[in-house]
Structures are given as C-alpha cells and as structure tokens.
Amino acid sequence: MDFGDILHTIFNFEDYGELLALVQNSIWAGAVLGLLGGLVGTFVMKRDLAFAVHGISELSFAGAAFALLVGADIIFGSLAGSVAAALLLGLMGVRARDKNSIIGVIMPFGLGLGILFLALYQGRAANKFGLLTGQIVSVDTVQLQMLAGTAVVVMIALAILWRPLNFASVDPEMAEARGVPVRGLAIAFMVLLGISVALSIQIVGALLVLALLITPAAAALRVTTSPRLVVLLSVLFATASTVGGILLALGSRIPISPYVTTLSFLIYVVCRIIGNVRTKRGINGRTGIPLQAAGRPAEDRAVAG
C-alpha cells in the first residue's frame, strides 16, 4: 500500500451525497455528544477531573464488555460501569491526591476486566473493537432517541446545579462558607459525568473519551477566561470535532475516532498558540496603570512587631 492508497483510505469522498443521507442519525448523535461533552468538559477542567474521566471510561468499558458477553444491552452495561466508578470516586476521593491514587488503582483493574470479558466473547470482532475505538456509523433511530433523551436529562440537571456547582468548583472554601453543599454537588456531578462518559463511549470509544470531554474545554480555556465564552467555545469545539469527524470518516472504512481526536487535537494546538501569543504580549484585560509589582502573592510579608 503506497501513500496514495493510504490517503485514499483515510479520505474517501465517493458517493458522498448518498452516504450522507444514510448517516443522518450519526451526525445528530455526534452533535448531541459534542454539546454534552463541551458543557460537562468545562466543569471537568474546573474541578481538575481529567484523570477521573479516564478512570471512569475504563470501568465503563468493562461494563459494556460484560454486557456484550452476556448478551445484555451494551449502553446499559457501559452506563452501569461508569456510574459505579463515578460514585466510587465521588464518595471516596475527597482530596485530590486520594482521588488520583484511587483512579490509578481502578483504571487498570477496569481495563483488565474489560479485556477478560472481550476475550471470553465469541461474537463479531467488530463489536469488540467498537467499544474501544467507537462506532458511530451504526446509530439507529432508537439509539439516537435514547442518546438524545439521556443527554437532555443530564443537561437539565447541569443547568439546575450550574451556579453552585461553578462556585464549589472554582472557589470551594468560600462556597462552603456560603452554605453551598460542596460535597453533595461533588457526588452529583460525578454521576452526571459518569453518564456523559458512558454516552460518549458509544461514539469515540473508551480509549478516546478524553478527546470529547477534556480537549475542547481545555482548548477554550487557553483562549479565554470569561466563564460564558469558555462554555460557548468548549461546546463549539466539541461539536465541530464530532460532526467534522463523522463527515470526514464517512467514505472510509476507518473508525470514527481518529478523525474526532485529530480534529480536537488540532483545535487545541491552535488555541494554545493563540493563548501563548497573548500571554507574551501581556494582554490580560487590565485597564489603567497596573499596581506596582510589589503586591505579588506570598512574597512580601509584613515584618512582625
């Protein structure tokens, strides 16, 4: 296979119009997941949960693999796995360091279980591969409805929790002093995150969930700190990655995930460059004359007495 063949395999736009009609459901599913991933992702970044997303997705994979093995509904299996993982993390890992070690412990365990279940599974190999790398082309109307319905429920819940969750995420000590139920919100968010991970796995697979739940929000944070703009850009980036990925993948026989992850990676790189240029130029929204540099935190302490 020479380079031209490879390129042709990756980008193949023959009979594009007909194919497009066939995958309408998939495009809608991609858009829904982009919207959801972009929204949830902003809180994942604020709460520093990137590693947790990875851990949850491995257990979600194990759940889906188990469902595949016993002939149960795969979506249900992956939901059960990820919500269980999310609850475990929410209940046990209060401190960041705790949390990371717990994730580090359950992640390989979940992945191992998943591989065990897949090894025992006798069915089609494509089913197995799809759990890890995603399979959007086969979304039927029932699945789409289920996906969209669940996503809407998660988004409504997120909207209700929005302000206190934001408060508890960016300024936890103060939020607690203000009577915000910081711990309850942490657990509630983990459940929402678990559901979102399980849904995203249907599209990009367990290994690449980060591309949907982290990269878009991380990219948005490189270019703005306005809370509203962060959310807007994050959703935009995530949707552009999923829908764009599906459109690019359409004619080829390659799974969707490399297209989605590459798009979202490129968006991140561009945002990072923009962010760095701005930092270098010292653009940070300050007006008037900045106060003297003497006020930098923690360095200048008043002398006692």
Binding site: D171, T225, A294, R301
Partner: protein, 271 residues
C-alpha cells in the same frame, strides 16, 4: 439592642484537647473585634463556629439573635489570600459575582442586575481597573480587595475575616484593613478579625479576644494587651511594650505566635 454575635458558655474541643471553654462574648453592630492567639488556639475554629461549619462542644452561639446556621446571608466571610491557578476560568468580576449569586440554583437569568451589582462592589473596593483580568494573574493584594467586595455582596451584618492580611505587603495590608474598617464604621457591620498580628489593625480595634492555652481574655486592647494579662494566659513571663501606638510582645513561649513563619496556621487549626 440584640447583639450581632452572642456566645454563651461556648466551648470547643477536639478529642481530649479543649481549645477554649466557657466563652462569653457579645458583639454589637459596628464593633470591631480582633481575635488573637498562638497557632492552634482555635482562632479559625472560632470563625467556623460562627459560619455554622463547626459545632460547639458546649454552650450556644447566635448570629443576629438566631442560632448559627450554614450559609447565612447575614455573614460575609473574607478568607486568607490563596493563589489561584493561572488558568482558573474566573476574572476579577466573576469572583465578586460568586458572592452575589454563586449559591443560587439554576442558571443566571438576570445578568444585567448582577453585573450592575458587581460594578458597584468593584467600585467600592477600587478594583474596576482589573475587573476583567483573570484572578490567577492578580497580586495578593488585588485578590484580597476582591475578597472584600465578594464578602460585602450580601450587605452583611457581620464580617468574618480569617487572617485576610497574611502574605500581603504593607500597602495592601493598610488598604484592605481600611476597607474592612469602613464597612464597620459606615455600614455598621460587626467585624470579627482573626489575626496573629494586631498592629496593622490596631487603630480600628474596639476589643480583643485573646485565646491561649485553653483560656481566653476579652476586653479593650488596653485591658488585654498587657504584660500581666498575657503572662497569665501563657503561664510564663511575657513582656508587652507599647511604642508609637504599636504593640510589641516579647518573649512568647510559642515562637510562632507573632511571626509570619507559618502561612497556613489558620488552615491547620481545627482539623
């Protein structure tokens, strides 16, 4: 008139160790109370009790005539300065806005009203110039001004300050404590100011609550900050010297008391 804060026979202990007990304190509107004492004497826990985050072991505590409750709108809280990560998605005005409506459920639908309120608070503390700067890029002093604005968002009857001047340079210490004092005098808020260093606020303090060795003393600075009283509290000879309106305490048994060598003292207490 009902006192803003009232503690009766209040006691707090962790395990076998009593931080303080039989504490009776009343605080009137417009009164400035400094809470002093060595590390681990329960200064921060005193604030936690008033915030409703820490239950008393004995006795009662009321704020505004009612038992303490979590998340009271009557209370504004100013924490120690801590640095934010540089990429925290929060600008100065967003930090202040958290104090206005951060605790409410749902999305913010009344942006215009909140924005106006935030603008007013920013003006109050002189932070308009950096309203749109990410908090991670602000100096400690600038952040603490925002903390004052954030705490004043609910027009509190009671301001609880937990070492708000720690790690600030002298200029910012003066600016921030003047802002707090202004709220006390002009808006008649009661202030509880936890600090290990009385001098930056000496001209504002009406009364001192000194906690040490499981005991306490309440009174005006002239009554409490004396060689006799502190020597008694510490059970060892302590010399209090006054010079140019400032107070210097010499010979403290616990060397950490009046020096800034432990920036996290307030956090460690009470855990």
């Amino acid at each position: 008139m009902t006192p803003v804060v009232s503690l009766r026979g209040a006691g707090l202990q962790f395990g076998q160790r009593a931080l303080w007990k039989d504490l009776d304190v009343d605080l009137r509107a417009g009164e400035f109370l400094a809470v002093l004492g060595p590390n681990g004497s329960g200064k921060s826990s005193f604030l936690k009790v008033l915030l409703g985050l820490q239950r008393l072991h004995s006795g009662t505590a009321t704020v505004g005539g009612r038992p303490v409750e979590r998340g009271s709108r009557k209370i504004g809280y100013i924490p120690q300065q801590k640095s934010f990560a540089a990429d925290t998605p929060l600008r100065a005005r967003d930090l202040v806005a958290l104090g206005v409506d951060g605790h409410r459920w749902g999305l913010r639908l009344n942006s215009r009203i909140v924005n106006e309120r935030v603008d007013g608070l920013l003006d109050l503390v002189g932070a308009r110039d950096y309203a749109k700067v990410p908090v991670g890029q602000l100096s400690g002093g600038e952040q603490q001004r925002l903390r004052v604005a954030q705490a004043l968002a609910t027009e509190p009857e009671l301001l609880l300050c937990d070492e708000p001047l720690l790690s600030l340079d002298l200029n910012h210490q003066q600016a921030v404590s003047a802002l707090i004092n202004r709220q006390c005098r002009e808006r008649n808020s009661a202030v509880v100011f936890v600090t290990h260093e009385i001098n930056p606020v000496i001209e504002y303090v009406d009364r001192v609550l000194y906690l040490a060795g499981g005991r306490f003393r309440v009174g005006t600075p002239e009554e409490v900050m004396t060689t006799e009283v502190l020597s008694d509290l510490y059970n060892s000879h302590v010399e209090v010297i006054r010079a140019n309106g400032r107070i210097v305490v010499v010979g403290l048994p616990d060397a950490t008391t009046h020096y800034h060598d432990d920036a996290h003292s307030g956090v460690e207490e009470g855990h």
